[in-house]
């Protein structure tokens, strides 16, 4: 069966498909989460140095991975949208942003919660946490830019442009922050050197990451449906307003 993918590049046809797919992804996310949590608490052994606190990595690291991955995907959809002038691509980017920001926020908070018992302070300016913080600024900037513009077409394209430019800058930012860290602290101190990876620990992080990933796709599909509906509504309203204007002009 040859699937005509282009059929689904129209918001109208994608809408029902997204509606059917979303629950499946959320269901898979739930299952993976159960497995991941089981591994996190009942399979992964106690760490010799960090005791039980290290278990926070099972949400901290997957959240951090997702925060970066989602930004990359956003940038990808932005590039596709700009290149092909496809509305749905822009909408997907818009749908992903809030979830990405949420994961960034979680990575920061869980990082602090891990750091406090380990290092005694609620915040440490280590390279990874600082880079996460800057990533949060980028997410917020992107969302602020999009909401500042009333013209959806301009909002889409400006947001896409910013997503692309900032995504390209992320490696540069990360590299400069690492450099900054070594300059000011001598040997690079990593806030949270994850314990030497037992297989179970790595597996736990991977499963939780996959759970977060499935969750993200499910949520993004749900949100893009809302975005599609919002814009349809807007377009109808504008059309109606135009009809009223034209009708009143004719009467004159």
């Amino acid at each position: 069966m040859r699937i005509n993918w282009y059929r689904f590049s129209s918001p109208q046809t994608f809408y029902p498909l997204a509606g059917r797919l979303a629950p499946w992804f959320l269901g898979v996310a739930g299952l993976l989460a159960v497995v991941g949590l089981y591994i996190s608490f009942f399979v992964a052994p106690t760490d010799f140095q960090q005791g039980e606190a290290y278990r926070i990595i099972f949400v901290h690291v997957p959240a951090a991975w997702m925060s970066m991955f989602i930004y990359l995907v956003m940038a990808g959809w932005s590039a596709v949208g700009l290149a092909l002038n496809a509305r749905l691509s822009f909408m997907m980017a818009q749908a992903l942003a809030p979830t990405g920001a949420m994961f960034t926020f979680l990575a920061l908070v869980t990082g602090s919660l891990w750091g406090k018992p380990m290092w005694g302070t609620w915040w440490v300016w280590d390279a990874r946490l600082t880079s996460e913080l800057i990533l949060l600024f980028l997410y917020i900037g992107h969302m602020a830019l999009q909401s500042a513009m009333e013209d959806t077409r301009r909002a889409d394209r400006a947001g896409a442009m910013f997503a692309l430019v900032s995504a390209i800058n992320v490696p540069i930012i990360y590299f400069s922050v690492k450099w900054w860290n070594t300059l000011h602290q001598g040997a690079s101190i990593s806030l949270t050197k994850a314990p030497a990876m037992a297989h179970a620990m790595l597996l736990g992080m991977l499963v939780m990451a996959l759970a977060f990933w499935a969750y993200t796709i499910g949520v993004a599909l749900m949100r893009v449906r809302c975005v599609i509906k919002d814009r349809e509504r807007e377009a109808e309203w504008i059309d109606e307003a135009r009809e009223i204007d034209e009708a009143s002009e004719v009467e004159q």
Binding site: L145, R154, A158, S176, L183
Partner: protein, 224 residues
């Protein structure tokens, strides 16, 4: 008229506008001076403390001054319609933008390069460190104008553009700040500033090559 002819005229025009509106340049400088003076008032004037925070303070203040001046980059031409003309002109918009960024840097970046070493004296920095400071700003301020141009173009004509530009552009400024201030800090600590300065130079090359194109694309989006 040839492309170079048009660009030269544009450059000359922009520079003349800058010379005519000297108050803009002076305002930028005054903000820089005042902002720098706030720090000793805020943290105390202990000489060793000032020497250690000096590079960072001067760089952050320069960065904020550059950012504040971004509003002027496209606004004047936007409000009188010149910008739309430039977009339609037979000259590549990328080059037009590059010229405007250069003129903007002459007005807002170059004065900072010249003034910063003087202010550095207030922070008890050594002479060779002041030299590194000036050179780092010489490499860095064009980058600030280049990156800032993208932000200014994206937010053209938007209500509340000033704050929005800051939110967009400040995270992107961070590598420039790190390497620029880092060069001076390294020099003050007796290490070589070469590493940081080379990285800064590399970023500048990247910026010169890519930023005008991105800013031009952003202008097109804003003017559609």
């Amino acid at each position: 008229m040839s492309t170079t002819g048009i660009l030269r005229t544009l450059l000359w025009r922009d520079i003349q506008l800058v010379l005519r509106r000297q108050s803009d340049v002076v305002a930028t400088l005054f903000f820089f001076i005042v902002a720098v003076s706030l720090f000793p008032l805020g943290v105390g004037a202990e000489p060793a403390l000032l020497r250690s925070i000096g590079p960072g303070v001067l760089w952050v203040a320069a960065l904020l001054s550059a950012m504040l001046s971004l509003g002027r980059l496209f606004a004047a031409d936007f409000s009188d319609g010149t910008l739309e003309q430039l977009v339609l002109a037979p000259v590549p918009l990328t080059l037009v933008v590059a010229v405007k960024i250069f003129a903007h840097w002459v007005a807002s970046g170059l004065p900072l390069v010249m003034l910063a070493p003087l202010l550095g004296l207030q922070f008890n920095l050594e002479v060779q460190d002041l030299g590194v400071l000036a050179f780092s700003l010489l490499l860095g301020t064009p980058l600030l104008s280049l990156i800032g141009a993208i932000g200014a173009a994206l937010t053209l004509g938007v209500r509340g553009a000033g704050v929005l530009v800051a939110i967009l552009v400040l995270p992107l400024y961070i590598p420039v700040l790190i390497f620029g201030a880092g060069a001076v800090t390294a020099s003050a600590a007796g290490m070589s500033p070469q590493g940081a300065l080379s990285l800064l130079a590399a970023l500048l090359v990247l910026g010169v090559v890519f930023a005008p194109y991105a800013a031009a694309a952003a202008l097109r989006i804003a003017l559609e």
